[in-house]
Amino acid sequence: MKRILGRLLVLGAAAGAVYALRNYFESSSARASRGDVQLTLDNGASVEPSSAEAQEFVDIARKVLEIAG
């Protein structure tokens, strides 16, 4: 009984690790990279937002594209 419980525990841990890794790779592939967002201001200046802001832009843009089909 103890051995079965031990094996179940190991299996559970392995499944959890696989799930975490999968999530990590999925989110990193969707991460905004340099040049993904470019803004031209009304004064003519060109701006590239910080990575956090760029990520926000890309996440919403992805939703827009998803809705637009």
Partner: protein, 144 residues
């Protein structure tokens, strides 16, 4: 409002349809009011207009905020690339925004050029309350 086809040609939707016809890479086009309402749009059937409108309003809001944080009073253009394609924003007079979406392989420079031309026509349309004038150098002038 147009859904996948031109209705009210000569008005806002007609101009958006012209833009879509000219730039074959444009999948959807919309004009957003300063208050975040969808004034006109060319969307395929089945698209949830409210969700689409909410998302592009959010995008325009972030673009304005980012522009202010970087010393501007607003943005003129924004280009956002995602895996699925591009979302392009061009600011219009009075806080309105012209938004288009394209596929991932679109020639974005060309689409932005057509959007700039359409902007003039859209501003004229809203200024006159009538259809666009003929001297605008609008999107109809570029041959495909």
């Amino acid at each position: 409002m147009a859904e996948g086809g031109a209705t009210g040609v000569g008005g806002l939707e007609g101009l958006l349809e012209n833009l879509r016809a000219l730039s074959g890479e444009v999948t959807t086009a919309a004009v957003l009011s300063a208050g975040g309402d969808l004034e006109a749009a060319t969307l395929p059937p089945g698209v949830d207009r409210e969700r689409y409108s909410a998302m592009i309003t959010a995008l325009a809001g972030i673009a304005r905020r980012t522009a202010r944080e970087n010393g501007g009073s607003g943005f003129a253009e924004a280009r956002i690339r995602a895996d699925e394609g591009y979302v392009l924003l061009v600011s219009l007079e009075g806080g309105r925004t012209l938004v288009t979406t394209t596929g991932p392989d679109a020639r974005v420079g060309l689409v932005l050029y057509d959007m700039r031309n359409t902007r003039r026509e859209l501003e004229q349309t809203s200024g006159n309350g009538a259809s666009a004038g003929s001297e605008t150098g609008g999107p109809g002038e570029r041959k495909q």
